[in-house]
Symmetry: D4
Subunit: 255 residues, 8 copies
């Protein structure tokens, strides 16, 4: 890096760069070098399998379709594309334009070039297992499951095993004991991740869901409860961020 500075200074001495201009160039030189490193990193990221994903929420339909088309490419071999937070209306339009795509309404996902196989019966085992506490948490759990599969993970799904019925976990003890990572989705008081972290050796990614009413509204109580949990081995995602949990898992298991 010093060479870069010397180079600038020599141009100043040579009169080809004004001192004021040099001042700016010296100031931004480290950043340039850093973000060029970043570009290299981004390409490495592409190699690891974490391609671009389209966040459909509040996107206008033409913009959404154009974004998907651009990522998917026009010639073989095409790049698989994942779209998240897809509304029913957006899903219909995507299906119309890309008839070979898959729309998973419950998980609000649309996948192109890859079948995520999100329909039941669900396999309750894998390197990463998505566990949901209540019936209403499935939407978020599906987003995590589908994203994980899109990134090539071996992912399982165990819905509806909240702490009010802990015995429902019984049939899954062996599989959960073998997972490398557990993604636990829960609303209300958000107690499920703490219980799982106390039972199994795998660390737990906790995703609060915005399910509930009164003090549960919006998922903040679940979020705080997960952060405050006295059980060791839990880290927490933003409310409803099943996608983020799967990204964490993919970066972890694909590298």
């Amino acid at each position: 890096m010093p060479n870069r500075y010397l180079d600038i200074l020599q141009r100043v001495a040579a009169g080809t760069v004004a001192p004021e201009e040099a001042l700016l160039q010296i100031g931004q030189a480290p950043f340039e070098q850093l973000v060029q490193g970043l570009n290299l990193d981004k390409q490495r990221g592409l190699r690891t399998g974490l391609g671009e994903v389209v966040f459909a929420q509040s996107k206008r339909l033409p913009d959404l379709l154009a974004a998907v088309e651009s990522l998917y490419g026009r010639e073989e071999p095409r790049e698989p594309v994942l779209v998240t937070r897809v509304t029913a209306e957006q899903g219909t339009a995507l299906r119309e334009k890309f008839p070979d795509g898959y729309f998973y309404e419950q998980g609000r996902l649309f996948a192109l070039g890859k079948d995520l196989s999100l329909d039941p019966p669900w396999i309750p085992r894998g390197d990463v297992i998505v566990v949901t506490a209540g019936g209403a948490d499935i939407q978020v759990g599906m987003e995590a499951l589908g994203t994980a599969r899109f990134f090539g993970l071996n992912a399982g799904f165990i819905p509806d095993v909240g702490i009010a019925g802990l015995h429902r976990l019984l049939p899954y003890l062996p599989d959960l004991g073998k997972a490398r990572l557990i993604i636990a989705v829960a609303g209300m008081e958000g107690a499920l991740p703490g219980v799982l972290a106390g039972l199994f050796p795998a660390p737990v990614l906790a995703v609060p869901s915005s399910v509930g009413y009164g003090v549960s509204t919006g998922g903040y109580t679940a979020l705080a409860g997960m952060l405050a949990s006295c059980a060791a081995g839990i880290a927490v995602l933003n409310i409803d961020n099943g996608f983020g949990a799967a990204c964490f898992a993919a970066k972890l298991l694909n590298n």
Copy 2:
């Protein structure tokens, strides 16, 4: 009640009460009758064993001693007195003035005329059982236990059985299954009451404790988690309000 109004109106007619004065008397008449009913209720309350309790927090020492002396009375038969939120300094002063009193530092209680027997080993069974999640919740649990005993309840105590170590509950299953009411004290994410409510037939009074750091600070996360719990049969007290839980129990079991 109409008679009372009629009485007022007749005095107006007789000229012994001015119309303006009558207006005020009529307005407040229903309230007077109501709070007189209240006085009667208070005496019934005294009969049930819920006598006056002194809240020592932020009381000046002379005021505190005077309040205790006044309640305790000067002649036999004396009324037992309970003082809550007693600091070490206040406890010393109370012991000095009332040498036959009991000071329970861990529960911040001082009792006069009644031995609350708060020292271990603790009996883990009773009509009401106080359960605490962590070691640091004992102070609040003790306040609940001592107050319950002061009000004459048959109360047990099971400390330190948080959800990170659910197996610690195993030895107490039979006793907890027979309790009429469970008081569960927990800080952090406050998940213990939900677990207990899912296991036992007794309703659970949940007391959040102000134990913790970060998002647990002050007990608000535990409070919200308890209110949001998806397990049925839980009602919640103010943070650290072990006293209030015991009062609820006493009103319930003594009537």
Copy 3:
């Protein structure tokens, strides 16, 4: 409802039912994979004394109907079923499918196999009495009343006696004085439970309602006020959780 299980066990004790037969009746599987992602916890009643109730909020219509049908059973003797947070649309669909069911729109309840008798005139007395502060709290009060009756409690109802008109309590003093438990629903500043706890020997379950505007919005002010109340013998439920208050009462009075 626990009676059904006890009844089976008593027949086993009496020798009129073989253990193997009883096992079948109780249900071997700990839960039934009824609708996708929705486990109905039929054994929860065994553990806690309260049977499964269907929470209709945000359930899709086919899932809701299937859940009710499964719980209700297909042969006599059928299990009574309660559905809570029923929308008008859901209520109509339930009535269509189960013509002998009762839909109580004001309380957002649907009951099958049991008439909850929620129409006025209301009886202002019982072991548990539901009291509401304002006209707009009735919806929550009704949920408490109907749930209590579903669980077999002797429950009364006194609407619209907020603290701005305390004299309205006058006619009910004797009945409230005899109740074993009072459920008080209030929005705004949530002061009613504190007043009742100061007047009557029964403990008070306080339910904040989300009625109001400005700082009352969402019921948080009422919730905080109830938790902070200086009157002894109050425990608090989540906002609008009339169902939870009735569950607490049922666990208390049915055990």
Copy 4:
């Protein structure tokens, strides 16, 4: 006002004021006129008896003494001075420097040139009556009472009549019925003002106090409860702002 503008424009025409300068003068002209009106108002304010009051909190001792000395003046007739939020240490220093001043430690007030007569027994009647809910609210109530008296109001004091003991109000019904304004201080859930507003014709200034623990901490629950009160005729002050309530009363009753 147009004259003022014309005057400016004429100076521009005459070349004695530059256009740029005139632009600023025209812009601020209305403000100048307004705040000059303000100066007149301030003098009227002085006539009404609301003189300057010194807020001692976080003032350094020399600054505090200098401020008081400057207001008190050096020659007869002197202006009475009130100092609020006086710490014990500040009070001692003030007494030392102004030996004929009065230091009311409980109300954290220091008065010079006027005896506020804050010691018990307190007179429970007056044009404005200060009512406090609990023993710990007296400090704030005293600030209101002393300030009201400093401003020349006929002010009474009724401490410790919280809603958990409404019958304590009975002896004071006639006096409260005749007051023109009630100042009600309460912590915890802050329900007292609502009860008073439901009983008496006078409007109620509600002052939340920072007394309490858990959700009461800092007085926010009392504040919200008072604002949300369903009883008509209540207006609310900042937490612990007994001084502000008395100022409102003085502006009202002295004009």
Copy 5:
């Protein structure tokens, strides 16, 4: 309005009405079971000087019409009735049923038996003057103005004089200087009441309005700013509670 009761009592004193007859006129029952769950508190006027007003928000149409009819009475002399928070739909229905009533859409008020004269041009003077900061605060200001007039106050109105244009106050300085009470409505940062309290001798009732976006959303910033104001003589109402400010004024000026 209390005059009606006083009138009866004065006739009793004068001997033109017998006490028994008066009792019937005042109403023996402390309240009337009008619509299900909606007790109209006719005696509140006796106690507090303010008659019953109907809060239309979230009331069902038949209940609303029945409530108004009952309060209005069926024979002369009728009692004037005020309805607040009236939606356009409710207003139309009220007009249809009570063709001689007045519906003030901007203030969301409906008045029967009394013309509130809320249309411009507005008179900027009176015993109480309602001042609003921005164009969007007028709705709340109108509620205050109309309610004040309903209670018989001499009330003025000065809209749209926020602190970004203080000079707009200039024409109103004399009138504001003579008012006995100022009601100031403001959203955003809520600074208007502090400016008015610094300018005029009258105390200021501050009403935060829910106008704004970002941190202004819902009126909480205005509310806090008004409570925190360093200007003396301000008391604060709940957000958008123009009705409450007028009630305070009426209790103050009518007693």
Copy 6:
């Protein structure tokens, strides 16, 4: 825009306009009672250098059209007018009434008498450069850009360069290094302004946008992050307040 006033004053100084004539042109009355309750503060421009802009949000259509017409004037030379927060419906109505106006839907702006040239391709350089973090922040960025241009600023636009893709900044380093002021719009965690302030000599006006879900909801997290930033040279606007940032820039660069 202040130029117009300055222009008049300079003509007065030059003797080509008489002071009395100028007075008329500037407008004698400090404000004009245009629509009911809506004072247009034409003099604000005099004081502060920024003319009146119409905030369309929650304005009724007739009021909005009247306000714009009044500001625009009826004769040449007309005053350019800007309207902000224009809905699609309002935009259509404005276009209909003022066919030569410009409606910029993405920026929710309507301009009369001035073309703001908001369509792409955008010029990434200027005295002030508006930078947005994500695709969804463009709406707020557009409001800033259009307002800045309306006030005559030389303003550039660089959208969609959030910190997850810092390398996108590389092409803009020279232009950003020469800007006098940067306006940075960001939602989510709001980190962009801190990064920019660490790289460039220009101070940064940070505008949090309400983009996001979970803890990002409403823009409060971005707001707090911007205020807390450890990078020097950042000042923050209200959430979504692109207009305010441009006003700050105009006052700065136009004076």
Copy 7:
């Protein structure tokens, strides 16, 4: 499990268990089985190297010493012990009692039976690398580093590379690019984890620190910013919870 039920039923049939007792036994059977599984899991956990750790905060000295002594054992081979949140006073007492222990004051850790080597110079590479944003975040970073080493991880440390000086990251690009997991500690606006997640393939555990003033107070702004981050591959711990991040890492890398 059915066998267990049959066994109970057979005892009922045999008369050795009462029906009421059987009801409880059947209810708790699944829980017993689950927590017995938990015991097995706990033993597996012990094998993975995550032994018991003592949380010293608010523990009384004798209790703390006893806890450490009990875990450390009295005979060889002893179990290494880690104590977290150790105050200076506690550290001194621990050193006195266990002279071969290590007290790391900056990280508030005490280790027995294992040297954590926390003194500089720090190695900036490893499977897990702890990165801190500011000088004041070191305390939390040290807790993470020491805990990770206690659990046997190959852990590196890079302090003081906040986003205001991103170029400081330059020398560490290669090492950070090879890490399997990054732990990023940051206060203020908490932007560091988002920057790291955008640069490197490893997932990032983000730990907000309670460093700062104003809106940064207590770490909530950093916490929210980390949860809201738009960069993928971040999961968040409680404020100051460096210990928890290391536990997550240990469960991940040790299994």
Copy 8:
């Protein structure tokens, strides 16, 4: 301060300093590992125009002294150094070690190599003028004033002109009208910046101060009020961040 770097570059351009020599003078290493974990970012000045300032809060004394010494340099020409948030104890130690330094206790600043002249009488004019609302805001205002002067700005100071006494602004109208930037410090409701922005052409940097009690506690109400202000031309800093306001001003006026 950037001048120093520019000066070096200009000498390179002039040929009086060789590029290699200049490189040494600027400093080859991008940062210096001065004290453990504390990187001093000497290049930040290059990039942003502001040199490094030492934030003393919570720094240990030896680290603080070492940091100052390193920045100050050991040979002439020395770099002026500013230290902020200096406690009395830190100030004494700094004075002892650097006897020619200036310690400004009220502004919590220590300056080396530059006299900031912060003692009264204060000059009320300059390119940037710092205005404070109350007496207690002076500490924050002083931090802004001293920092601005350290960065070479022509800065004035007008203390104690809060909105409760707007007339105090009158003498300063001309000076404030000529300022290029106003820094306004206010606690309580934070209304001062809005008033100033409505009066003067300069934009206003608003700094909320943590002065106050009740809802003012910590400065959040002032912060929100400033953000919500309806006056155009305001941008807001973190609570008590006088330093940040001066940095913004320096970046603006020095570039």
